[in-house]
Symmetry: C2
Subunit: 151 residues, 2 copies
């Protein structure tokens, strides 16, 4: 059961993930031991799923990031699973999301430049199975503002 202390911990954790447990505890108004125990419980309960490193792919030479939306061939009941399995095999696919609605799947794809992106698109994306429709949007920036999250 999440209470007000948990919410404060989560809020500060999202706002500043680099805080030590002691710093987080001070901001959340509990001791470090309590803070640690509550984070442990939130993690065990699956509220906190993981701590993921956020990579700036541009600094690794991947200047292009594209969001691709797919509508799949609905007549084949295995289209979805086969598409996802194949998409997972593409190294440049760094994110996969599934939806309810007009669009079935979204892939986030990175590439070194537009030439590289064209190559990936032709050789790895268009060859994915069961594609009925596809639309690409080039990502300009990602603005994540966790400080105002509903906690």
């Amino acid at each position: 059961m999440i209470d007000e202390a948990d919410r404060r911990i989560l809020r500060h954790l999202l706002a500043d993930p680099a805080l030590t447990t002691a710093e987080l505890a001070e901001r959340a108004g509990v001791t470090a031991a309590t803070c640690w125990r509550r984070i442990e419980k939130l993690t065990d309960a699956g509220v906190i799923r993981s701590r993921q490193a956020v990579i700036d792919w541009r600094r690794l030479g991947y200047e292009v990031e594209v969001s691709l939306r797919f509508t799949l061939d609905k007549t084949n009941p295995r289209a979805f699973d086969e598409f996802l399995a194949a998409a997972r095999e593409v190294p440049e696919v760094i994110g996969i999301e599934t939806f309810l609605g007009r669009v079935d799947v979204r892939l986030n794809v990175i590439a070194r430049d537009m030439v590289h992106y064209q190559q990936i698109y032709r050789e790895r994306i268009l060859t994915l199975p069961h594609i009925a429709d596809i639309e690409a949007l080039m990502l300009i920036s990602t603005i994540k503002d966790s400080a105002g999250v509903p906690l």
Copy 2:
């Protein structure tokens, strides 16, 4: 300059963010001191931007997540900035991305249920400034498979 040891460190870090520096070092084939120094340099260089806690919003009672795509009124040169500033003020907006193409901005919005989502949509989303077009997709699942990243 990123070398092969850096790539191994990043690969294992993305694959298993919970590893200690010593565990990561062992898998990357360097000592813990070297591993720690390289991570420090990758962080200072901005390659590693942060370590973000990944929250399962469903476990916090937010059962609904919707991806909203906006086309903005291009005739107003300040439309973009005013829209982004207003979107940031909405607590239920947990992600903001901007694009080049037919769609300008994408917001990720969470809500407790469909009733709550309708309320947020009517009272907070539709009132954002300079909306020319809007499309919603309900997120079913997020599949992040970093193990196959291009490193």
